[in-house]
Amino acid sequence: MIIVGGGPAAISAGIYAVRKGLKTLLIAQDWGGQLNWTNLIENYPGFESITGPELVKKLVAHLKKYQGEDLEIRERSEIKKIEAEKEQLVKVEADKVYQAKALILATGRNYKKLGIPGEKEFSSKGVSYCVTCDGPIFKDKKVAVIGGGNAGLEAALDLLDYASKIYLLEFLPQLTADEYLQKMVRKNSKINILTNVAVQEIKGEQFVNGLVYQERDSQKEKEITLEGVFVGIGTRANSSPVKNVVELNQEGEVKIDEKNRTSVRNIFAAGDVTDVSHKQIVVAAGEGVKAALNVYQYLCRK
């Protein structure tokens, strides 16, 4: 069988699959996924406090202990396409084309993009998705945070340590973040809240130097001079390789049942790419285990 992904769900699935004696290929584009943007983890049982990358290192080392005849690992391999083939085979196109009797999709989530002009061109040139990583670079600079939900407000609050001025922009007429976050943001004079605005373009030359937005009431276009734009509009499931293969919900998450089955009988899914109710590291790890054991049952019964 094939496991696609490199985070806690995929790694746990891999460990269980190989221990069950399943001949397994794990294809990982990147190890750790969202853990790489996480500074401190203090809710993973057994580890009182550990950084994201440290946990990734331990997870990968654990998995690689089983690398061998039953477990093959393909790293840094981009998934181009996944297809459900006839005769109950699944086909995965990555660096090569692979086929298996069953597949676990555990590709996690990634930052949502704005999809406006300038965003891609100025990525790492003033546009960032990770305050933890890039915040300090914007010390004493003017920045904007896009997004009035929890992700956006947390980003704005984290930036208080660095930026000289923070514009917080939200498309809707009001912020949608939790009340306590809103209170903290409102009482800080360094944060300027702009609601009911549509961001339209990120401008710059070599680096970002401005942000254009439209006031939705007056339809007036305005521009802010600044040096950084942090996008904090949340994450989306990395489900594009299976978008026309299995059923997704409205948010683009892969729909699964209690046995991690998708709408295609030999494709299973686990972790944050699915519609599982809580996106937590320990939940993802548990879901990976469930998926592997369910694949084992499925293959035994076939």
Partner: protein, 79 residues
């Protein structure tokens, strides 16, 4: 030994990863905290043409991000 500089910030996960990798491979490097040092920050941006960390400089060659393959290639590290 090659001269290696790592431009990083304290809470950046990939900075941690790149330093752990160099430690593991037994390479010494100068760790430059661009959160504290404004001049180093400017230097990093000028040299790399971008604002993301980490940036690794190996004998004048610039590597952006934790690009394990590129770093391994320059330092002659084999898997």
């Amino acid at each position: 030994m090659p001269e290696i500089k790592v431009y990083s910030t304290p809470a950046c996960p990939y900075c941690y990863t790149v330093k752990a990798f160099l430690d593991e491979q037994g390479f010494a490097y100068e760790d430059i905290d661009v959160a504290e040092n404004a001049r180093a920050r400017e230097e990093m941006v000028n040299k790399s043409g971008q604002m993301g960390v980490p940036v690794v400089e190996i004998d004048g060659q610039i590597v952006i991000g934790f690009d394990k393959e590129r770093i391994s290639q320059i330092l002659g590290i084999r898997d």
